[in-house]
Symmetry: C2
Subunit: 307 residues, 2 copies
DNA sequence: GCATAATATGAGTCACATTCATGTTGATGA
DNA sequence: TCATCAACATGAATGTGACTCATATTATGC
C-alpha cells in the first residue's frame, strides 16, 4: 500500500466524479464522456490509491460515491464552473468581445471628457475590463510597452516601435481669471503677464503642464507664486474668487463660459493649439473595442467644443 | 495555427502560472518547482497555443503575465486553495480525525439521550460530519450496508456480514399512567390490563414498539384504542391528564419520576428488559471517533439510569 | 555593442492514460 | 436458491505527450 498520498489530482478526475454521480454509474458515465468503461475504472482506482481514502461504495452495483467521494464531488462542482467561466472569457478575448482597457492619462484635465466616454464605452463593451490607472503619469509609455496599461492619453507623441499615437482632437489651453482681474481687460495673455500672478495648477511636474511647457519655460518666466490643486472645479472656484489665475483646456471652461465670475483669454496673440493623442500598441489598435473607444472620444470632444 | 481551442487545462498549469508570477520569472519558477526551465517553457507554450490567447508578455525578459494570464492566475488562486482544503480533509479522513457520523434511529424515544451525546461528540470531533437521518427507520440496516448511514441505533440485532451490533445499555419499558388511574394501584401491569385502555404511542409500526413486540402481540391483546403522538413530552402530558396510558423506556420517565401527576409500573411480574445496540460497519468500528461515540452513549445512559 | 542572464527550440525518452479482451462480482426474477 | 445479466475489475499492449538534455535565440545592463 502506498503511503505517500501525494495525490495526482487532475481536472479529468473531477469531470469523471461528476459524470459518475450524474449518470448514476460508471458504465453510463463512460458513455457520456466518450471513453471506455475500462478507462474510468482504471482512473478511479488510481485516484483512490493515491488519495488513500475510499471514494466509492463498492459493495453496491451501480457504483456510488462514498462520503469522501461526495467531498470530491463538491470540489468538482465548485471548481469546474470556475474553469468554464474563465474559458468563456478567453473565448471573448479571442473574438474581440472581451479585452482589457486600462488607461493612463498624462493630462489631469482629461478626466472631464474621459468619464462620459468610458461610461458609454462600458455599456457597449460589458466584457472589456475598464480601468483608469493613476500614479504612473511619468512612465506611462514604458508601462504601455510592458502591457501594464493599454492606452495612454498624451499630448507629446514619440516615435516608439510597436506603438501608434492616434490623433484624438485639438484643443487650446486658455487663460482663466476672475472677471474683476486686471488681466481680464487684455485681448490676449503673454508669458510676461504671469510674472506677478499666483498660478493655480494641477499637482504635477511642470513639463507636463501646457502653461509651462508651451509658454513659461520657453519664455523663462516664473510666476509670483504657484498653488497646486487637484480638482478642476476647485481651480475654477479659486479663480473666480480672485485667489489666482490658471490655464486650462478650452473645453473645460467652455461649458461654463458665460459665468460672470471669470473670463477666459487666449494665450499669445495667435492662441496656443495642442493636440491630444491616444497611444496604443499596434496589436491592440485592430481590436474593434479599441477603434470604438477612439470614436467615442472624438465624438465627446466634438460635443464639448460645440457646447 | 490551431483553431480548436479545446483547452487542455490541468492543475499543473495553474501551479505553473502561480509560480511564475510569484517567483517573478520562468527560470526561478522552474527552480522552485524542481523542474527544468525547458519544461515550463514547453508547458506554457502549449497552453498558449491551446488557449488561443497570449498569456505572457514576451517582449520583456523576466517573463510576465499578460491580461489574460492574470485572469488565469486569478483562477489558480481561487482553485488551488480549494483543492488544498479538500486534500486536508482527506488527510483527516486517513488518520481518523475526520469522518462521517450519520445516524439512523429506529427507536423514537432515543432522541432523549442521543442529543446530549451528540453535543458532546461534536465538541470533541469537530471534523466529523454529524447528522441524524430520519425517515428510514424501516430500512435502516440496508442503508447502513449501502453506506447511506454510518450507525443505526436498534434493539433488534441481526446477523449481518460486515456489520457488528455493539451493546449500548439495557433499559426497561415501563407502564405510565396518571396517578389517579385505577391501574396505578397494581404492583405490576399485564398484557390483559391494556384491553380497556387508550394506548398512546409514537407514530411507527407496531413491530417497532416494545409494548407490542414484547407484550401485546405475544399475548394477542388489542388495546381499546390507540393514539399516536410524536413528542415524548406530549405523551407524558396526555398521560398525566388521564387521556390514556403509555409505555416508555425507564430512562425517559426516571428524570421526572417523582412528579405527582403520573406513576410508573413494571410490565409483567418480573419486568421487561430490553437492550439497545449500535449497528456499525466492521470497518468503521475501528475508527477512534466511533469508539468514543459509543463510550459517550454508555456514559449518558448511566447518567440517566442513576438520575 | 558586448557580456550575461533569461527564454525558446528540437530530439529523444519514459511515464501513464487509454483501449481491447476478458475475468469477476452484484442485482434481479423465477 | 439458483440462474442470468448487467456492471465493474483486471492485465497487457499501445500511443500520446510531458519532461529532460543540449543548444540556439533573445532581452537587458553596462
Amino acid at each position: 500500500m502506498n503511503v505517500t498520498h501525494i495525490m495526482h489530482l487532475e481536472f479529468r478526475h473531477l469531470r469523471t466524479i461528476k459524470a459518475i454521480h450524474e449518470a448514476g454509474g460508471l458504465a453510463k458515465a463512460a458513455d457520456v464522456m466518450n471513453i471506455t468503461q475500462s478507462a474510468l475504472s482504471h482512473q478511479i482506482k488510481g485516484l483512490e490509491d493515491q488519495a488513500g481514502v475510499e471514494l466509492f461504495v463498492r459493495r453496491s452495483k451501480p457504483l456510488r460515491l462514498s462520503a469522501a467521494g461526495m467531498r470530491l464531488l463538491r470540489l468538482a462542482e465548485q471548481v469546474l464552473p470556475q474553469v468554464e467561466s474563465m474559458l468563456a472569457e478567453f473565448s471573448g478575448l479571442r473574438d474581440g468581445r472581451a479585452g482589457r482597457m486600462h488607461i493612463a492619462i498624462e493630462c489631469h484635465a482629461c478626466f472631464e471628457w474621459l468619464f462620459p466616454v468610458l461610461e458609454l464605452f462600458r455599456k457597449n463593451w460589458p466584457e472589456v475590463d475598464v480601468d483608469i490607472r493613476p500614479g504612473l503619469a511619468f512612465d506611462a509609455l514604458p508601462a504601455l510597452l510592458k502591457e501594464d496599461v493599454d492606452l495612454v492619453v498624451s499630448s507629446d507623441p514619440e516615435d516608439m516601435p510597436g506603438v501608434t499615437f492616434v490623433e484624438l482632437f485639438d484643443y487650446a489651453p486658455v487663460f482663466v481669471a476672475a472677471s474683476t482681474h486686471p488681466l481680464a481687460q487684455k485681448a490676449y495673455i503673454d508669458a510676461q503677464d504671469f510674472r506677478n500672478e499666483t498660478l493655480i495648477t494641477y499637482p504635477v511636474e511642470r513639463q507636463r503642464l501646457d502653461v509651462f511647457s508651451q509658454l513659461l519655460i520657453p519664455a523663462k518666466v516664473e510666476p509670483a507664486s504657484i498653488r497646486q490643486v487637484e480638482l478642476t472645479a476647485v481651480i475654477l472656484l479659486l479663480v473666480a474668487s480672485a485667489r489666482g489665475v490658471s490655464v486650462l483646456p478650452d473645453w473645460v471652461v467652455r461649458e461654463v463660459k458665460y459665468s460672470s465670475d471669470y473670463v477666459t483669454r487666449p494665450l499669445t496673440k495667435d492662441g496656443l493649439t495642442r493636440r491630444l493623442y491616444a497611444a496604443v500598441r499596434d496589436q491592440d489598435l485592430e481590436q474593434p473595442y479599441m477603434q470604438e473607444l477612439i470614436q467615442f472620444a472624438r465624438q465627446e470632444a466634438r460635443k464639448l467644443q460645440n457646447a
